[in-house]
Symmetry: C2
DNA sequence: GCAATACTTATTTTCGAAAATCTTTCGAAT
DNA sequence: ATTCGAAAGATTTTCGAAAATAAGTATTGC
């Protein structure tokens, strides 16, 4: 693995998880010290992340971590619902036993981690399994473009969820584990109408919750709009 | 404008238009001579294009122009239809007079260029206006993510159309100008059902035509699959 | 003759310094 | 006091060379 790839992974990781907060300038000399490498691999990584809209770039004025805004969150969630519901319908139509087994497996692993609280809690392991579960639902859609857009939108919305995960503030009166279970069941019984409805509700609840949290208490870098 | 940005524009241009054919290795020393600049700006451009899937990259083995395949064309067209029909519905619902005027203007400019045949013909001007027309239809959808995906998919499918445009082979029994006109009219009268049906038909016809052309006569770099 | 190995060449990747550009600071003129 | 402009400093951008890796070629031993 080249240094540029390591730089890309490390920067992406740190941006999505908020260790490099939205709006923060990404100066080459700082990054060079932080990641212990020269400018070249860092610039390559920053350009890739710029193409993914995780960092902003201005000619001759460097890079910054892309800002967050409620407008963008709503847009990302709405597009996600459209893209993922289409993909879920296709997966339900095309998926084979391997696909179904992958969902069962991903859900089981996710629930194991959800059950680990206290000192065993590991936000990042939980987040990785949450991603894997949603990815498994769509795995059989047979559309590389759709899956790429899913990944882009997942990364974009993950940035909004991280602060609330870290704060351990959770929405009252919501059983996310049950939502995942119902979604998996509807999918495995090939009930596309029910599955897509559950998926949409799942995302809208998350979006509403995040909107209420960010609405009162804007984190750094969150644009004022809305 | 920095050299890296020039390199990005130039490479993207040359890849989409087929001057750098699919599968061709993109060696730094060749590109350095071709575009008259050092390695650094070229590598930055290549990394951005890699993130956009217009070039492939293999660690320590360099970059290549991304290959074409009928599978990818079909996927791109299907996703395009979903994304653009959603965006068109939203635009029809939200669009104001400026949006409508933009469509009329773009269609008029496109038709002017369509009418110029013989020595006045300019494939690239035509292509730019074709893009502008389709972009104008969706301009009021109020979703940056949707518009970004539109641009990605437009670039991906444009690569397949270029060879047939250059060859001046046109589908028999098809009046593309009339299709654009009907699409614009249905959109401007806010008939979302009709407009999306026309849009889908428009793309499916193009896809079917390209499939038949590439099916018999595969261009360089077109993978054999399907 | 053939396989394995060392050597040469081609290419990518990385670094460090130079060039270009932007930002800040300081001072002079109004 | 304020504004304008020049100098100083900070930062990005670019280059050219060095290091690292892959690919190709010749050589050796059997």
């Amino acid at each position: 693995m080249t240094l540029a790839e390591k730089a890309y992974d490390a920067l992406r990781h740190d941006i999505i998880r908020g260790e490099l907060p939205p709006g923060r300038p990404l100066r080459l000399s700082d990054l060079s010290a932080r990641y212990d490498m020269g400018f070249s691999p860092l610039r390559e990584a920053l350009n890739r992340l710029h193409a993914e809209r995780l960092v902003t770039a201005e000619s001759l004025r460097g890079f910054r971590v892309a800002p967050l805004s409620l407008d963008e969150l709503h847009d990302a969630v709405n597009v996600r619902i459209k893209v993922e519901c289409d993909a879920l319908r296709a997966s339900i139509e095309l998926g084979d036993d391997n696909w179904a087994a992958g969902i069962v497996s991903a859900l089981y692993a996710l629930n194991l981690q959800v059950g680990r609280t206290g000192p065993d809690a590991d936000i990042w392991a939980l987040e990785a399994r949450h991603y894997a579960f949603h990815r498994a639902l769509l795995a059989a859609c047979n559309s590389p473009w759709t899956l790429e857009f899913f990944e882009r939108l997942y990364a974009a919305t993950e940035r909004y969820r991280i602060p609330t995960l870290l704060a351990a503030t959770h929405p009252a009166g919501r059983d996310v584990q049950a939502e995942h279970g119902a979604l998996a069941e509807a999918t495995l019984t090939r009930d596309a109408v029910k599955a897509t409805a559950l998926l949409e509700a799942h995302y809208r609840k998350t979006a509403d919750y995040l909107t209420s949290v960010f609405g009162m208490d804007k984190p750094d870098g969150m644009a004022a709009a809305v």
